[in-house]
């Protein structure tokens, strides 16, 4: 590390590593799992129809096909559950952070004074559990900004209000 940075490093900055991140609401796990169920339900239905109408004449035993899809299904369920535990967020006085990922971990922070606008979305399944997702957008090529899913509706509104106040004030 260079000298100049060490000089700066002596004065202590707010450290993102030492902040306690908040977990996503447990209800959101249900939403995630329901989504997985729905996807695999469609997949199984498609498989069944294809099997019934005789597309798989070449495959000797269709049982194994079902078995493999089932294994994948279980694996995805397990991965999503572990992944859910890794989804965490924190709102500090001047920025908002989100981290996620098991195999590909990432931590993103967007300072409030760079936020252009904020969006709150409700998915059909999430709505049933009164959950929403909160997205913040920055200017320019902002395909890669921050999105937190599975927030309680009131909480998301509060965060939005908080950030809006900070931006204007």
């Amino acid at each position: 590390m260079t000298d100049s940075f060490q000089n700066i490093a002596v004065t202590s900055f707010p450290d993102i590593v030492k902040i306690d991140f908040k977990s996503i609401n447990n209800k959101y796990l249900k939403v995630v799992l329901i989504h997985v169920f729905l996807v695999f339900l469609i997949l199984f239905a498609a498989l069944f129809i294809a099997d019934y109408s005789g597309v798989f004449k070449i495959v000797e035993n269709t049982f194994w096909l079902y078995f493999i899809v089932f294994i994948v299904f279980i694996a995805v369920l397990v991965l999503k559950s572990i992944g859910f535990k890794k989804m965490k967020y924190v709102v500090r006085e001047k920025d908002i952070s989100y981290k996620k990922g098991v195999f590909f971990r990432s931590l993103t922070t967007v300072p409030f004074n760079r936020i252009q606008h904020i969006e709150i979305d409700e998915g059909p399944v999430s709505r049933f559990f009164k959950l929403v997702s909160l997205s913040v957008f920055t200017a320019g090529d902002s395909s890669d900004d921050l999105k937190i899913s599975g927030l309680l509706k009131e909480e998301a509104q509060q965060i939005k209000e908080f950030i809006s106040n900070k931006i204007d004030g």
Binding site: F5, D15, D95, F104, P111, A139, G140, S142
Partner: protein, 499 residues
């Protein structure tokens, strides 16, 4: 200011604009329907005379219709300046009313294509950072009017206009024809060849579509395969082919560079850089200092010998990807002293000399090797699948050293260093790129780790700016976190406008 008064009422562009708009419409129509013209010429003898008459009348009617349309577009296109807003009304049936506050205006660019040069008018493009809908193009203004408009918009926040007149006289830098030639010969010829190739492929596809429609696809294919097989049999021809290819590459680079950068001149005015360039299409770009997000200075070994390099300016871009290329502004053929002047202008009193470089960890090298191996594997499989002979694997004797060399070099060139305000990221293989990014321009920071990186305690840091990402790959986690925290601190305490 009398200039402000001049634009305070709604006004139209120069009357010559009708011609520019008309030719523009015709050009677009021609581009869309040129194959109809082709068909027409080809089948000319077979068309009965009575039908021919109808076609002529139809085309004539179309021309008249376009002329009327051009006139209406011209008539309904009105703009004015009011209350530090640029206001535009346009549209024949669907009226659009646009109002842009001055401080949202990113750029005012002048452009002249050949027709505009002949009739002595300038196209004025007003760019904003937001949606591309808000981009305004005034097709024809006299130079005097255009510069008056530009002046009103650019210097609204300047207290004095006198400095403006002084600065006008001497350019910051001027790239002469000889320097431009130097630039052309040291271009990345492979790239220009690929570009040419892409254009040709696109053209070939259009032609072959056409032949397809005529049912003559086989004829074309035969012609090409016949030529290709005779190529394979003749080594001398292949060597000749490569030499010709090289010549074409050099020539196309030269043409490209000269067309685009002819008579490149850069002025410094107030808080903006003004860049003039181009041969057939003259362009002038105004670059406000604050709006520049980061700059990249590039060269390659030959260029370094000659002491010239490129500067890319990156500004905030709108979400539309198609505009991306236009928003990158490039100055070619800068001498070292000129680079220093521009750097000084954008980042005054920021000296990065003498600060140690920080390199990525050896994990990065490992990752490069693994990726290289994967690419090699895929390349081999593909080659084998196409040619189906073991001899083809001999290519690896040539490929592997090239891969190893380029990985070693690019690892060595990957570094970063910074002082309190400015981050410098170096990268490249044959070319060397140095990207300068002031910390406070960052919009969000990201720390990324794969599970393997986590085991090795390294992480990637990604800075997202309004004009794209800058990445520092595979540095130690603690260092990454320090930079992360520091960047956030800088952004959050900054009061300066960042775009």
């Amino acid at each position: 200011m009398d200039n402000t008064a001049r634009f305070s009422n709604f006004r139209r562009q120069s009357k010559k604009g009708i011609l520019v708009i008309y030719l523009n419409i015709l050009y677009k129509a021609f581009k869309a329907f040129w194959f109809l013209l082709f068909l027409f010429v080809q089948k000319f003898s077979k068309i009965p005379e009575s039908t021919l008459l109808y076609i002529y009348i139809g085309v004539l009617a179309l021309f008249v219709f376009f002329l009327i349309r051009a006139f209406l577009i011209f008539k309904n296109f009105q703009f004015k300046i009011e209350n530090k807003h640029f206001i535009l009304q346009k549209g024949i049936l669907k009226k659009t009313h646009t109002s842009i506050p001055f401080d949202r205006i990113q750029n005012i660019n002048f452009k002249q294509n050949i027709i505009q040069q002949i009739i002595a008018v300038h196209e004025v493009n007003i760019e904003t950072a937001g949606s591309s809908k808000a981009e305004i193009s005034i097709k024809a203004l006299s130079f005097e009017e255009a510069s008056a408009l530009k002046q009103v918009i650019t210097i609204f926040d300047e207290t004095t206009t006198t400095t403006n007149i002084n600065a006008e006289e001497k350019p910051l830098l001027k790239i002469g024809f000889a320097a431009l030639m130097k630039v052309s010969f040291t271009e990345n010829h492979l790239q220009s060849l690929l570009l040419l190739f892409a254009v040709l492929v696109g053209f070939y596809q259009q032609i072959s579509d056409l032949f397809d429609g005529l049912g003559k696809q086989e004829l074309l294919d035969n012609y090409i395969t016949k030529n290709a097989s005779s190529l394979e049999n003749n080594v001398i021809l292949i060597v000749g082919f490569f030499i010709i290819l090289l010549l074409i590459a050099v020539l196309s680079s030269t043409v490209r560079v000269v067309l685009r950068h002819f008579n490149l001149t850069v002025f410094v005015k107030n808080n903006a850089l003004e860049i003039y360039q181009g041969l057939t299409t003259k362009k002038s770009v105004i670059l406000k200092k604050d709006k520049v997000q980061h700059i990249t200075i590039s060269d390659n070994p030959v260029k370094r010998k000659l002491g010239i390099s490129f500067i890319h300016f990156k500004q905030a871009i709108s979400g539309k990807v198609e505009n991306k290329k236009d928003k990158v502004i490039k100055i070619v053929g800068c001498q070292l002293s000129q680079v220093a002047v521009i750097k000084n202008l954008l980042f005054p009193s920021e000296n990065l000399e003498g600060i140690n470089k920080n390199f990525s960890t050896s994990y990065y090298k490992l990752r490069l090797y693994l990726r290289g191996a994967l690419v090699l594997f895929i390349l081999n499989t593909l080659l084998y699948a196409v040619i189906q002979s073991n001899q083809v694997l001999l290519v690896n004797i040539l490929l592997i050293p090239v891969f190893i060399l380029s990985i070693e070099v690019s690892f060595k060139k990957r570094y970063y260093l910074f002082n309190k305000e400015l981050l410098l990221v170096g990268q490249g293989t044959i070319e060397t790129h140095k990207t300068y990014l002031p910390f406070f321009k960052v919009q969000n920071v990201k720390l990324k780790q794969t599970i393997f990186q986590a085991k090795n305690n390294v992480a990637d840091v990604i800075f997202q700016t309004a004009s794209g990402k800058i990445k520092i790959p595979c540095i130690q986690l603690e260092k990454a976190q320090q930079i992360y925290n520091y960047t956030l601190f800088k952004v959050e305490t900054s009061q300066k406008s960042w775009m």
